[in-house]
Subunit: 191 residues, 4 copies
DNA sequence: AATGAATGAGAATTCATTCAT
DNA sequence: CATGAATGAATTCTCATTCAT
């Protein structure tokens, strides 16, 4: 029970203040547990952070994977994936902010590298989808790892823009702006 | 003289450790000045940070603007800009890491918003280039602000990837991966 | 337990060195607690100072009030009050020095005004005693607030003098010197 | 020229913020001189403070002494002195606040004791006036040093009260409240 | 499992003072 | 006489972590 409360409280505190300005005191308050309880469940601040990030990214990856369906054109597949990721980003914006922006310098080496590994896996997953899609397409000579990584940065960037100007932009425009870019490397075979 | 030394020392310390883990003590040591000197030139840590970021982004923006030439096709124009930005990112990687990744939560409100403003101006600049380029092209219905913002996130993301795996990837692949994406929205008139 | 130790240590340090030269480090040492403990119990130096002053003046006021008895001539009443206050001043000289002398400029606005309020209440209390006493006496046209305030300044001033020259003066002379002054405005009815 | 400017600037800064919160930086700014100039004229902060206090008290003492006239009744003499002191207090309130309230703990031992000496001299002067006046009067058994010291505390206290509530009280009430107290120990011979 | 008082290392910041010009 | 950049010791305050209950 407490563990769950702490994870939720931690997501809020970390995403609102960033890893460093987040304090264990505040997390305890937000979670309605005593400070000692934090340390009963998690050995340290950075381990709590890692747990949140790990569980968060696992959840998001699973959700995105669930959009995969068989027998649909790869272009549509990619589109679905991107659409789903954007939706998840906007729905779980706190978690997303953590995952995409708080993985920066200063966090202790070990945690940092484990989290980077999680992110790399996600890039790898998207990369494979692109590659697979491309097998049916006609564009060669593209480095899919790089492109996948770039697309994730692209999505992060525009979702942040959207969240800061929710009235100014339209959710559809986000997906559109990416699809416009990648549709040409994902041309169907029959063409 | 001292001021210059501090700016240089600050860039190193901030980009290596991030805003929060960076300490004024270390900055003083790196800069070879006494701690008090830091405060003689900059009223606070966050103001030093802001100064570094402001001067840094101004330098980068100016450099990128210098690639603009008249009478060349807009697609080439954009390509030059992106190429230049990637080169600058990789050359001034410390500064770039600061500008692209350290603008996150936790930094004090005022500094944060001023820095966001600087970034927004940069997005705006790129956006205008895209728009102008497009006037000669044939694709409509694209939100240039969003696309420009996304492209910047894309560049940041792949440059970081590159810097962490310098042996694995090739600098040309970076530029390529973007150009492949945007060349289709930047088709020349005569087509 | 710690809180009590800190209050005691704080009284000593503050009265010995004044608010500004008193250091939290020293207070921690005097109180035999770690520096962090100070901040666990009191949010800041000025809040610790305020707590000490507030609790101190409450104690003193209560003690002085306890000297009030019914059915004794007002002149005697006043005499008892003044005698008691002087005794308390000399007994709790550290606290008294704080209350009477350390409420000066430089302390942060909020603390300062709250402490001034405490002092004003004390003036008010003495003023009422004078006024009540006077109802039985014969002197009119005196501003009791001003007189009460002045008497407190008088007491402070002579007690300080006494404490700095304990061998030179005699405790009785202190009370005497005031009573000689006010006995004429506190003449009994029957006269 | 500079010296004079610094003294004036110092009085303002010290009385507004107290000795400790006053900063040499601010004094320099208020005085329109560079910080180095401060140290050209005064070896240290506490020596500047001492200079201000010494010159100030000398000025005030001289002014009060000037009210002395020959061949007037001692009671009237005392009254004139007190009236003059109150007037000076209110006219030079900044300086007065310094002289009466900023002589507290924390200031370095040497300066402190010299300033205390100045104050003692002033007490002594008033004491002599009381004593002399009394020779013509009829009250014995009073310690004039103590009474003089108390009266000075009384005056300080009520002047502070007045300055904080200038609308509430009347300047005449201040003098009155003291004279009412001391007139009885200053009865003329012929009575 | 859970608590919260206590800790102390580490950080930012201040400011009187110095000194080369 | 006057300056102001540079200094560094001292100070307040923060906060992750521990531990007895």
């Amino acid at each position: 029970m407490s563990r769950e409360k702490i994870i939720r409280g931690g997501i809020g505190e970390f995403s609102e203040n960033g890893y460093f300005k987040a304090s264990m005191d505040n997390i305890a308050k937000r979670s309605n547990v005593a400070k000692g309880t934090l340390y009963y469940h998690f050995k340290s601040k950075s381990l709590l952070f890692k747990a949140i990030l790990t569980e968060g990214i696992e959840f998001i990856t699973k959700e995105v994977r669930n959009t995969l369906k068989e027998n649909i054109p790869p272009k549509t597949q990619i589109e679905k994936i991107i659409e789903r990721q954007i939706d998840l980003y906007l729905e779980y914006k706190e978690l997303s902010k953590l995952f995409f922006n708080e993985i920066s310098n200063g966090i202790d080496e070990e945690t940092l590298s484990e989290v980077k590994c999680l992110k790399a896996k996600y890039v790898s997953f998207l990369s494979k989808q692109l590659e697979e899609g491309n097998e049916w397409g006609h564009i060669k000579n593209i480095n899919f790892e790089i492109t996948a990584c770039g697309i994730i940065g692209y999505i992060d960037s525009i979702c942040s823009l959207y969240l800061e100007n929710e009235d100014k932009y339209n959710k559809h425009e986000l997906v559109d702006s990416i699809m416009r870019l990648i549709e040409n490397i994902m041309v169907e075979n029959e063409k």
